[in-house]
């Protein structure tokens, strides 16, 4: 078949914060740059971020990048690479000020500086007391960020391909990445983007869970493409959960609700947090609350016909307080839980929020894989940034507002690295003869198959399996069963059938292709989680409890290492954590407590 070939210096897959930031570097360096996105750029999921972006500007009070670095290493439960963390925290000021120059309307202090607010985990003087470090633009930080960077790209002549879906990575016989295949949704046409640099900025994959705060678009396409092309995925067992997502919908209910006096109750209306955290009760930290909720549900004290949620009760609060202090919460509850929280409690469950792992990169945004004993061999031509990548700065747990920072810093450095690598002016490497065959065969199989599973069924099976077996609180037996079960579900995904066979604008086909990515992320997560026998950060196992020998269940002697999951044979290997920062001394191992 004759497949059109479009030649660019660089293609960036993803037009969220990370993709747009990379594109600015490339286009402004005069390189011919294409950005592909499943949706219009400003509809990328970055738009959902409200809390802000971290940078030690010190506008409101004294702050220092080294304190930010300390908080990030501690947040990561020492699994983050300290070279990358130093790089990010040091660069934060620069990228935030740049964003300001791009026209980002940050909130300001009376004297015109960027206003900074407090956020959980941000401390001064190496964990001493809270510091104001988060920079925001009212409650539309992500939205404003996307708009500012999109405009900048338009000026720089970045070429956008909107409502295009990248399908597969193209690697030549020496393993160099030479482009991607992609499908234009409107025509159904498959095209080859032949490039000298390929950057993935495809965002997270939170839709592997039944309950997720992530928009439907987060199907982990970049991870699926990387895994199919033989690139391992790093630290995929680590997912941050938020304790209170609306059951069945996932929409986030802010911590503020418990702050205002909201109480969690089980099926017998018991205020169960009194048993788990007698002092802090419902105000205990996120992970304590989420684990208590999961335990109530696992032990049969959940509510509803399936006993699979608990209740967040604010009916005792004055309605005026609810309306004034918790704007939007009543609306969310009415829209998505079908209850008015003034009269009835809100059904909630621990909900998947953020993916710490991803495509392994170094701090320059270059994708790295193990080869001949070197864990960090660069894959020529391939870069990744943002939530799909693992630099690794978040380690086992992300610090709030560090992901918007991650996508600015590593979006920029991935772009800079590509510019540097392309400077030599080397020509495009040849495309393999069969460059598009793999993608075409995948599409063809979906088109032709009869009697297979529906996308809807398969997706639900993935999400239920992940939620039940690899949720916020993990049990050895459940993880073991989960591995068997997710490999069964994989067979379902290998056998997807769509009813609509039309070529043009076929959303069922696109969803089927997304589901083939989702399953790769699900397998990586389940298998990596089953294998890691300790508790660390967001990965908490019932059989690795808090003991004097292993505080919080963390076992540095055996498990201070990154997981790498290979799609081929579901093989797991490990690589060392980099505890050596670029210029400062290491942040010594310590028990993580707040």
């Amino acid at each position: 078949m004759n497949i059109p070939v479009l030649k660019f210096d660089a293609v960036i897959v993803g037009a969220g914060g990370a993709g747009l930031r990379s594109a600015i570097q490339l286009s402004e360096a005069g390189l011919k740059t294409a950005v592909l996105s499943k949706v219009f750029p400003t509809r990328s999921h970055t738009v959902a971020a409200q809390g802000g972006v971290a940078a030690s500007l010190g506008n409101s009070e004294e702050d220092h990048w080294r304190w930010h670095m300390y908080d990030t290493v501690k947040g990561s439960d020492w699994l983050g690479d300290q070279d990358a963390i130093e790089f990010m925290c040091k660069k934060a000021v620069e990228v935030v000020v740049e964003l300001e120059h791009y026209g980002m309307p940050f909130d300001r202090t009376d004297n015109g500086k960027i206003y900074q607010r407090p956020f959980g985990g941000h401390m001064s003087n190496f964990g001493e007391k809270p510091v104001r470090r988060s920079c925001a633009a009212a409650d539309r930080t992500g939205h404003a960020m996307l708009h500012a960077m999109y405009q900048r790209n338009v000026k720089a002549n970045t070429q956008f391909f909107v409502e295009w879906m990248a399908l597969d990575l193209i690697r030549d016989s020496e393993g160099h990445v030479v482009g991607v295949t992609a499908m234009e949704m409107e025509t159904g046409q498959v095209v080859i983007f032949h490039t000298r640099a390929t950057i993935f900025a495809t965002g997270g994959a939170g839709r592997i869970y039944a309950s997720s705060t992530n928009a439907f678009i987060n199907t982990g396409d970049g991870l699926g493409m990387a895994a199919r092309a033989g690139i391992p995925l790093e630290d995929m067992e680590f997912w941050q959960f938020h304790p209170t997502g609306v059951a069945g919908a996932g929409v986030l209910i802010t911590e503020g609700v418990r702050g205002e006096g909201g109480i969690l109750r089980n099926a017998s209306k018991e205020r169960f947090m009194e048993r788990y955290a007698p002092n802090a009760k419902d105000l205990a930290s996120r992970d304590v609350v989420a684990r208590a909720m999961a335990t109530e549900i696992k032990e049969g004290r959940g509510c509803g016909p399936n006993k699979d949620y608990v209740l967040l009760d604010i009916t005792h609060l004055d309605p005026a307080t609810i309306m004034k202090r918790l704007p939007g919460i009543r609306e969310i509850s009415i829209q998505f839980a079908g209850v008015d929280p003034i009269k009835e409690p809100i059904p909630v469950v621990p909900t998947c929020h953020y993916q710490m792992g991803g495509i392994p990169t170094n701090y320059s945004g270059r994708v790295v894989v193990p080869k001949d004993g070197d864990y960090n061999t660069v894959v020529p031509g391939f870069y990744a940034a943002g939530e799909c990548a693992c630099a690794s700065v978040h380690g086992a747990n992300r610090l709030g507002t560090n992901s918007l920072l991650d996508l600015l810093v590593f979006g920029k450095s991935a772009g800079d690295s590509a510019v540097e690598d392309l400077k030599s002016g080397k020509a495009h490497r040849d495309l393999p003869k069969d460059a598009a065959d793999f993608s075409l065969a995948r599409i063809d199989a979906i088109n032709k198959r009869k009697g297979g599973a529906s996308v809807h069924e398969a997706r639900l099976a993935i999400q239920r399996t992940m939620q039940d077996h690899a949720g916020v609180f993990r049990f050895a037996d459940m993880l073991k069963k989960g591995v068997t079960q997710i490999l069964e579900v994989e067979k379902m995904v290998e056998n997807l059938e769509i009813k609509d066979k039309s070529l043009v604008w076929n959303t069922a086909r696109v969803e089927a292709l997304e589901t083939e990515n989702l399953i790769e992320v699900a397998k990586a997560t389940m298998i990596s989680a089953e294998a890691r026998k300790e508790s660390r950060g967001a990965h908490v196992r019932d059989d690795a409890p808090d003991t004097p020998e292993f505080p919080n269940g963390r076992n540095d002697k055996e498990w201070l290492k990154h997981t790498l999951w290979h799609r081929e044979g579901n093989k797991i290997e490990y690589k060392p954590v980099n505890l050596t920062p670029l210029t400062v001394e290491t942040v010594e191992l310590k028990t993580r407590s707040y």
Partner: protein
């Protein structure tokens, strides 16, 4: 609505930036859309082109729709 136009609209309802909007538009498409007149369907398609935050503020009642043609659809999108 013609198949192609419908599929384009469907994509713009099921892949949004905000989960709240994904949920509200998907539900509307599945439960209500077929019962609308051609003109109402067109009005809904116009709304689906709004930015996510703007649309969520309308759906949740935190803002009012000033366009008289679109307001009845916004009212239907709201669940009370």
């Amino acid at each position: 609505m013609q198949r192609e136009a419908y599929e384009r609209l469907r994509w713009r309802c099921i892949r949004r930036g905000l989960l709240e909007v994904d949920l509200a538009l998907t539900r509307f498409l599945e439960e209500t859309f077929d019962r609308l007149s051609e003109a109402e369907q067109q009005a809904f398609a116009e709304l689906a082109d709004y930015e996510d935050l703007e649309l969520w503020h309308l759906i949740s009642g935190q803002a009012e729709c000033e366009d008289a043609r679109l307001a009845p659809i916004v009212a239907m999108l709201r669940k009370s």
